[in-house]
Amino acid sequence: MKRYERAVRHAIALRLNGVQRTGHCAPRTLLADFLRHDLGATGVHVGCEHGICGACTVRIDDVAQRACLTLALQAEGRDVVTVEGLGGADGTLGDLQLAFRRHHALQCGFCTPGILMSAAQFLERNPDPDERAVREMLSGHLCRCTGYGGIVSAILEVARERRERARHA
């Protein structure tokens, strides 16, 4: 058992995009705010703050979930991946990000980081999804620009590419 008092800023250590990091915050601090303000991962976007819009979705121990419905303390000692961890260390984009660009799957880009993190886990779990399954996964995200068509095509294309690569590997 471990107790964390409300008025104290506690040291919280976790792995962020493969790097061990430590920050300080009170128990009531949301993971989304901790990642943005204390650790500088501003790719975590904060929209509705009650789990509806999906913009703050990150992966904790590989699982896509809402950083606004998670306390920073709940991620202590965990492995957190944000959109900053999707590309290469040299700034090159990952395959999902490239496909989003090709398919015009983003306009303003506010919802995009969350969708990318969900899609990343979704494709690992479902390497050969149909359109219905992709749309069901996307129902946990709100995008007010693109109308979702480009997003669906991009995700389906990456699934195809990855299956191709796996066949030739």
């Binding site: 699982v63 709940q74 069901e136």
Partner: protein, 271 residues
Amino acid sequence: MKPAPFDYIRADSADEAVALLAEYGDDARVLAGGQTLLALLNMRLAQPRVLIDISRCADLDYARVEKGRLAIGAAATQAAVCARPQLAGEVPLLAQAFPHLGHFQTRNRGTVCGSIAHADPAAELPLCLAALGGEIVLRSARGARTLDAERFFLGALTTARAADELIVEVRFPLAAGRTRCAFAEVALRHGDFALAALAAVADADGIGLAVGGVADRPRLVRWPRLDAGARADALNELAWALDARDDMHASARYRRHLVRELGGRLLAEVA
């Protein structure tokens, strides 16, 4: 949209969590997946003095078949239960209901027991538990007790859980050989809470129909076998008996319509 301050205590076992509830009672809220509680904290609809986090209690993180039931511990996520390859054979009603329950991203963290504990009248898991005659296991420093769904759900967001009790497990009866079940709901958007959600379970003794989203808690009625003519009358009677209310999402009249319409489809499906 940020929570009011609270002390946070991470319990490592069910024993610790129960001891903490004995100490803090009403001043504490139990945090498992947090997919409802964190939203309530963010909106300051809940302002507990203490949060007791049970999500890392390894002894509560399980889903296993025992004594003819699927027993699910308080730390088990909806995604973990949903991903059981055998689920459609074990508790087919759950397998049918899961896709309607929130979203991929919230099921990843939300727990089965947490949804039961919250007791939203329109939530799918309380409805399934009521339809199947499942049980809730409560533990406190005073001892343990087991309640069936009917005695547990008392009203909207209101249950028989005492302030010092922890829901340690819920149990869904396994489908027996000839049982048939069906699930249907209507929501404004996929993954939203239902305007009306219905679950039907038929066995040799008759048919049970449970309705969520209309009354203040999931309601179960049982009939002996109904022929097609008697069905419409029985459903109409049920639709009126549920005391539907108007709210911003739907009228009482539309909810009664859904009970008759979805009920008719489900009864035909399991007949």
